[in-house]
Symmetry: C2
Subunit: 215 residues, 2 copies
DNA sequence: GCAAACATACCAATCGGTTGGTATGCATCG
DNA sequence: CGATGCATACCAACCGATTGGTATGTTTGC
């Protein structure tokens, strides 16, 4: 209220870089990588082209930085989530999936993945961009991997599986869910996909019948 | 051999439309939708811009037609596959997955999905294109759905599931596998994803121990 | 002869990127 | 303290190339 034009005001001096990165996450998730021009980004970030190319040598360099920015933002978000405190590793995994399901609402670009969107169209044309997006997804999977590793040490599985493979499969299901959601124009496919993944993990891990613990 | 320049020769009169559609499938799967220009398509199809806009009113119209072309090509391919002859619906589903796994080799753009690639970047900017890609994916899922429906009628499942949901989940896993494959720059994630899906279906369907039938 | 199937030449707008310049903050020195 | 020097941050204008699309032919088969 005190600053009515805050959302559309020029970013204060020194904040241009951050404004460009945030604009990149928002615009690229909505329009795709090639579908988002440098001018689009400058308009959204309320800065000029001069400022853009002062901070980033090329559009590709911005993409790589934005990919890292995406890792930072999402990493911080999930690191702060409550499910990390649970003692049982499987509880943490199901907690992660429940949190992801909670986030599925509103427009699709609000919960889809920046790295997945960018790599889908740039994998064959920019090795550097592909690598950065690959690292972002791998980083995210690695956080899940530790929980899966602990779960595999704790419980028997009905079918052989590796922690790395399960973590990657979890990302696969989410990324695929985003594609189907975009194709259908509604978020439901992601929720269905998460539910099926939960069923799979429930069937896979031979967990002893839950002891006195609600939820 | 008899026609050494066949691949680079101009398409004979009357084949321009088909040449453009085929070029669209190949180029867009490699470079993405916005990353593929009309000039790119004309070059690849060995025709001129005049011919392009004679057959398609806009680039978007080409995209919609290419999406239908994608459904035709893949539909014909899978309809002709041997697994359709199997009497057991679950055998047909596992046959489908085995065939998809067989196809996973060579460059990623050779086995990824046109519709999934296009919709990922166009869902928010072109309703018509999104609808066409959604229809392509839905059509493909519908072919699986009949087998899942029959399988659900034949076997008990350990967790409630619908044929529609399972068919969609299968597409989700494949689409997600393509994204991970692009991110890692290698096809392995798709194979892993298919293997996990097979494990899920094996655990889900309470199939009586296999009778005398090898494989 | 005539419509459909193409080709050639062109258009305004936009693309990623560069230019030369100004504004600002900060360290240094007298 | 204040003036000087300098790097960073940013802006407005501009560049050649490319964009999707059009206007005007020319060729071809019935």
């Amino acid at each position: 209220m005190s600053s009515p034009a805050a959302a559309v005001a020029r970013p204060p001096r020194g904040d241009a870089r951050r404004a460009i990165l945030d604009a990149a996450l928002a615009l690229v998730r909505k329009q795709g990588w090639a579908g988002t021009s440098v001018d689009d980004l400058c308009r959204a970030a309320r800065i000029t082209k001069g400022a853009f190319f002062h901070h980033f040598a090329t559009k590709e360099a911005l993409g790589i930085a934005a990919s890292q920015h995406w890792t930072d933002v999402t990493g911080t978000f999930f690191a702060a989530a409550a499910f990390h405190a649970r003692p049982d590793p499987l509880d943490r995994i199901f907690g992660y999936l429940a949190l992801r399901a909670e986030m599925i609402c509103g427009p699709i670009e609000g919960f889809s993945c920046f790295a997945g969107t960018v790599v889908q169209e740039s994998f064959a044309t920019s090795g550097a961009l592909r690598g950065a997006c690959g690292a972002a997804i791998a980083d995210h999977a690695a956080r899940l991997e530790v929980d899966f590793r602990e779960a595999l040490a704790l419980y028997e599985v009905r079918v052989p599986a590796s922690a790395e493979g399960l973590a990657r499969f979890t990302q696969t299901v989410l990324q695929g869910g985003f594609v189907l959601a975009k194709a259908e124009g509604r978020p439901a496919p992601v929720l269905e996909a998460i539910a099926h993944l939960e069923s799979y993990l429930t069937l896979l891990f031979q967990r002893p019948p839950q002891r006195r613990k609600r939820r």
